[in-house]
């Protein structure tokens, strides 16, 4: 794979590179009177030694992190077909927008008059999101999709509580991402699973049998985690709404339908969006993302506080409204990952409504095309419906050769490709979940399909080439079992080897 440099070499940690007396930092001269620490901090327990931070000169610092970067795969390096992650190109203009000094240096406690630009940008982003989802109002506080899930579920909880309606069950499909049931528990609900039918869609009959007066709501991605559009979404919505429950839309797969289908029109009451997926803000190795939540008018009173308000029509000024008596509270110390939200706004402004519809169409085109190409190597797990922006292959065919999908994935690395998501969703045996996104060219997809076909072919002829993969990387397969059994979670001089 293209992760380069120092094959089969370990890189010392910053602590091993450290030499006493070296440093990078130089702080400004202090031009105020000195203080006697023992006097001004009388009675305070002071540090007996400085924390063991590295002592390193700036060039060696830069080289260390450059080497770290060279040992890492990113979208900038190559194809990154992780299902449900929308690993698409991250436009660089967004970096420039977020770095504008007016945005970058805005203090969260500044009086509103001093931060009108940021407030207006955030308010505009909310307008984009409400129109794109077909809903009424938004909060930008959640720092990630999972925190958005928690916020949405807490609002569902508050809605029922306010009506003195005691409901304690959130229904989650068996194909759902693990955050859905985990968020339901975190929000104080019992998570109950509804099975998928043989065609990969929610078993609507089973759902109708499951709903009752305990049902607080249903969490659903549409298209679902298999990449299939739940065509009976309106019957699903009716089943939930008829018993007094609410419908939660997990926006992990919004890239398939942005600008073309709106969750609000499908009957959803609350939506979270992952701006690091659909709106291409950088994933950053696992965050920071942002998970704005958009809700119907009925749920608006329960939004986290504060809420951004525009005064006048057209708006002449922006401020925070803290007086939200029915609010669920808040989930962030300030106003969410604003730097990330500004990047998302720039993405929306670049595309406009038409651009988003074109984006999602090409995402679906690429997924259908790649599903057709990879179908020669491994079958679709659920071929009954056409895939949307992603698809799931079933890799059980290689098992007769003593090979698992994990081995295929590791072999893909040697063939130059980051593997897809594997062993998810859980309802597919030996699953490979593939999302190419719209920013990949057909020749890239052809190359990946050929590599997958090669790896699957090798499974029959030379399975050890898969068992021994990867061989081209800085380290080979790692002993995860002993890492968990005897965890070494920090560097110490004693663990230096």
């Amino acid at each position: 794979m293209t992760v380069m440099g120092a094959r089969n070499q370990t890189e010392p940690t910053l602590f091993e590179r450290s030499r006493p007396g070296r440093r990078s930092s130089e702080l400004p001269v202090t031009d105020v009177p000195d203080v006697d620490v023992d006097v001004v901090l009388d009675g305070v327990e002071l540090a007996e030694r400085a924390p063991l931070l590295p002592e390193i000169a700036e060039l060696d610092l830069v080289r260390h992190f450059t080497r770290m970067a060279q040992r890492n795969h990113g979208i900038d390096v190559g194809f990154y077909p992780l299902g449900s992650c929308s690993m698409k190109y991250n436009p660089r203009v967004a970096e420039r927008v977020a770095a504008l000094p007016g945005f970058r240096d805005a203090h969260p406690w500044a009086p509103p008059a001093a931060v009108q630009g940021t407030l207006r940008a955030l308010w505009e982003l909310e307008q984009w999101l409400t129109e794109l989802t077909g809903l009424h109002a938004a909060t930008l506080q959640p720092a990630a999709g999972a925190q958005g899930e928690l916020v949405g579920l807490l609002m569902i909880r508050a809605y029922h509580e306010h009506r003195h309606d005691d409901r304690d069950v959130i229904i989650v499909p068996d194909s759902a991402h693990g955050t859905n049931p985990a968020s339901a528990t975190t929000a104080g609900f019992e998570a109950v699973t509804v099975p998928s039918g043989p065609d990969g869609l929610v078993d609507v009959g089973a759902l109708e049998a499951l709903v009752n007066e305990r049902t607080a709501g249903l969490m659903l991605t549409n298209p679902n985690t298999l990449g299939l559009f739940e065509v009976e979404i309106e019957r699903i919505a009716a089943a939930i709404h008829d018993v007094g429950g609410l419908l939660y839309y997990d926006g992990a797969n919004f890239n398939a339908i942005a600008g073309r289908v709106r969750p609000g029109d499908m009957g959803f009451d609350v939506v979270h969006l992952n701006v690091h997926k659909t709106f291409a803000t950088p994933h950053g190795g696992g965050g920071p993302g942002a998970g704005p939540v958009v809700v119907s008018e009925e749920l608006t009173p329960y939004l986290p506080a504060p809420v951004i308000v525009a005064d006048g029509e057209p708006p002449s000024g922006y401020r925070f409204d803290w007086d939200r008596p029915l609010s669920i509270g808040r989930v962030h110390g300030f106003h969410g990952n604003v730097g990330v939200l500004l990047r998302a706004l720039s993405y929306l402004q670049r595309h406009g409504s038409d651009g988003l519809a074109s984006m999602s169409a090409k995402a679906v085109l690429n997924a259908n095309y790649l599903a057709r190409r990879t179908g020669e190597a491994l079958p679709l797990a659920y071929p009954q419906h056409p895939p949307m922006h992603e698809f799931v292959l079933c890799g059980t065919a290689v098992r007769e050769h003593g090979v698992r999908v994990l081995d295929v994935c590791k072999r893909l690395i040697d063939l130059g490709y980051h593997p897809p998501t594997n062993y998810f969703p859980l309802i597919v045996d030996e699953a490979l979940m593939i999302e190419p996104t719209e920013t990949e060219a057909p020749e890239t997809l052809d190359g990946f399909a050929a590599a997958l076909a090669q790896a699957v072919g090798e499974a029959a002829q030379d399975p050890d080439i898969l068992h021994d993969a990867p061989r081209s990387t800085p380290v080979r397969r790692l002993d995860e079992a002993s890492a968990a059994r005897r965890p070494v979670l920090r560097w110490t001089p004693e663990t230096d080897d």
Binding site: T66, P91, V261, G287, G329, F334, Q349
Partner: protein, 447 residues
């Protein structure tokens, strides 16, 4: 209109041919027609990069950029060195995702291992995770850990924990029916911890607290432990340039916001939450954890570990619902701490303390301006302003080019809200004199 997709018209038609479709819309034909948008959305048309940037620059310019920052309240105007930005813009780090395939993610994994090590050093505890969203939600996650570990549900939360964090903690605790009781702050600005009931899972305090005052963590830990409760400390990380680490004084879980560590202001986010704990709680950690191991050839390498706690495996029985967190912000903090070094951290903490003492001295020399508390402070302190509306003073100072705040409620309920003032290493004696002069004028104008 932006189009980052590479497809030529020819690409599209040949791909559609393979699929047996005539046009792109056919890919959506199985979706009920009335759910497909038939009209243009009520949104502006797409714009060129140049125009988008120009629009953004106009908005950014609508923010005041001329303010001399003495504001605190959890967000501090520390310098962010150029190397931090340079590292963050490396595409291999910026555009990577959660390191599910460790062989091609050793860079992020090793950096997170280094981050965990540094968090352990700052907190004085042996175990840390690979980041959380921010300091406020980190307190909520720590409380959940403590409730699970003690099998108790009540939380005692100091009034010295900042108001947003207390609200976040309440938002997380309410659905799980975990009661929150307040702990009072007294005249010197410190929390009083005594007579802890037997059903308390944890005592939650901040170091320094939201009034800037250094807490007596050793006493708090002893009181908490005597009742079988854990001590959770929300730490402002630069404080340990001078103070003993919370872990060395008996804290069981130490969390905080890494904003002061190379994150910049960004209107409060993104920053990075951190969490460290005493030995024995590893398997209750929320979020990602990186561990060191070896590969099949015996070479050192890093993996995400203790994975069976996590939502993608444990689902509704996970220790938390966290998936994506704040990795790149943790990278920034790691670069910053390495840039700073141990000597730099001490100089930073001491430099801020000297500036804050100088500011406090000059500001309290004004008539009707007093320190709200008698206890020791580091880079931030609380002022009580007599006979004026403090909010109007803050606005007036802003007009004069000085940013102070936030306003915080006086925990003793006496008088109006207090004004927080913080001094970073970037403030000069001239800045401090300027602020004092501006405050003097504002007090005169408003009395």
């Amino acid at each position: 209109m932006a189009d980052y997709a590479p497809h030529t018209a020819e690409d599209i038609s040949s791909m559609l041919d393979l699929l047996g479709h005539d046009q792109l819309d056919d890919l959506f034909a199985h979706i009920p027609a009335h759910l497909r948008i038939a009209r243009p959305l009520d949104l502006p048309p797409g714009r060129s990069e140049d125009e988008t940037l120009a629009d953004s620059a106009r908005l950014a310019a609508a923010n005041r950029t001329d303010l001399v920052c003495f504001a605190g309240g959890g967000a501090y105007d520390h310098y962010v060195p150029a190397v931090v930005d340079a590292v963050l813009q490396r595409g291999e780090l910026l555009t990577s995702y959660t390191p599910y395939q460790p062989e091609v993610s050793q860079g992020i994994l090793q950096i997170l291992f280094e981050f965990q090590t540094m968090v352990c050093e700052l907190t004085g505890l042996p175990v840390a995770n690979a980041s959380l969203y921010d300091g406020a939600s980190a307190v909520a996650e720590a409380a959940a850990m403590a409730c699970a570990a003690t099998r108790r549900s009540r939380l005692l939360v100091s009034d010295g924990v900042d108001a947003p964090t207390r609200t976040v903690l309440g938002t997380y605790a309410h659905p799980l029916r975990r009661p929150l009781d307040p702990l009072a702050v007294v005249a010197d600005g410190r929390t009083v911890v005594r007579d802890i009931p037997g059903d308390v899972a944890a005592v939650v305090v901040a170091q320094p607290n939201c009034f800037g005052i250094v807490e007596d963590l050793r006493a708090h830990a002893e009181a908490a432990h005597a009742a079988g409760a854990l001590l959770i400390v929300k730490l402002e990380p630069t404080a340990v340039g001078l103070l003993a680490t919370p872990g060395s004084l008996g804290a069981d879980i130490v969390v905080g916001d890494g904003q002061p560590l190379g994150q910049g202001l960004n209107f409060g986010g993104p920053t990075v939450g951190f969490l460290a704990c005493a030995a024995g709680y590893e398997r209750r950690l929320p979020g990602r954890v990186v561990g060191r191991t070896v590969d099949v050839d015996g070479r050192r390498g890093y993996v995400m570990t203790l994975r069976t706690r996590e939502q993608d495996i444990r689902r509704e029985r996970a220790t938390s619902n966290i998936c994506t967190n704040q990795t790149l912000s943790a990278v920034a903090a790691t670069v910053y701490m390495a840039w700073l070094g141990p000597q730099g951290l001490r100089e930073l903490a001491l430099g801020c303390l000297r500036r804050a003492r100088a500011a406090a001295e000059q500001l309290t020399a004004l008539d009707g301006v007093d320190l709200a508390f008698g206890g020791p402070f580091l880079k931030e302190f609380a002022l009580r302003l007599r006979d004026v509306d403090p909010a109007a003073i803050i606005d007036g100072l802003c007009d004069e080019g000085y940013l102070v705040g936030p306003l915080v409620d006086d925990p003793r309920g006496a008088g109006g809200p207090l004004v927080m003032v913080a001094a970073s290493e970037r403030r000069t004696s001239a800045d401090i004199a300027g602020l004092a002069g501006a405050l003097q004028r504002q007090l005169k104008d408003q009395r």
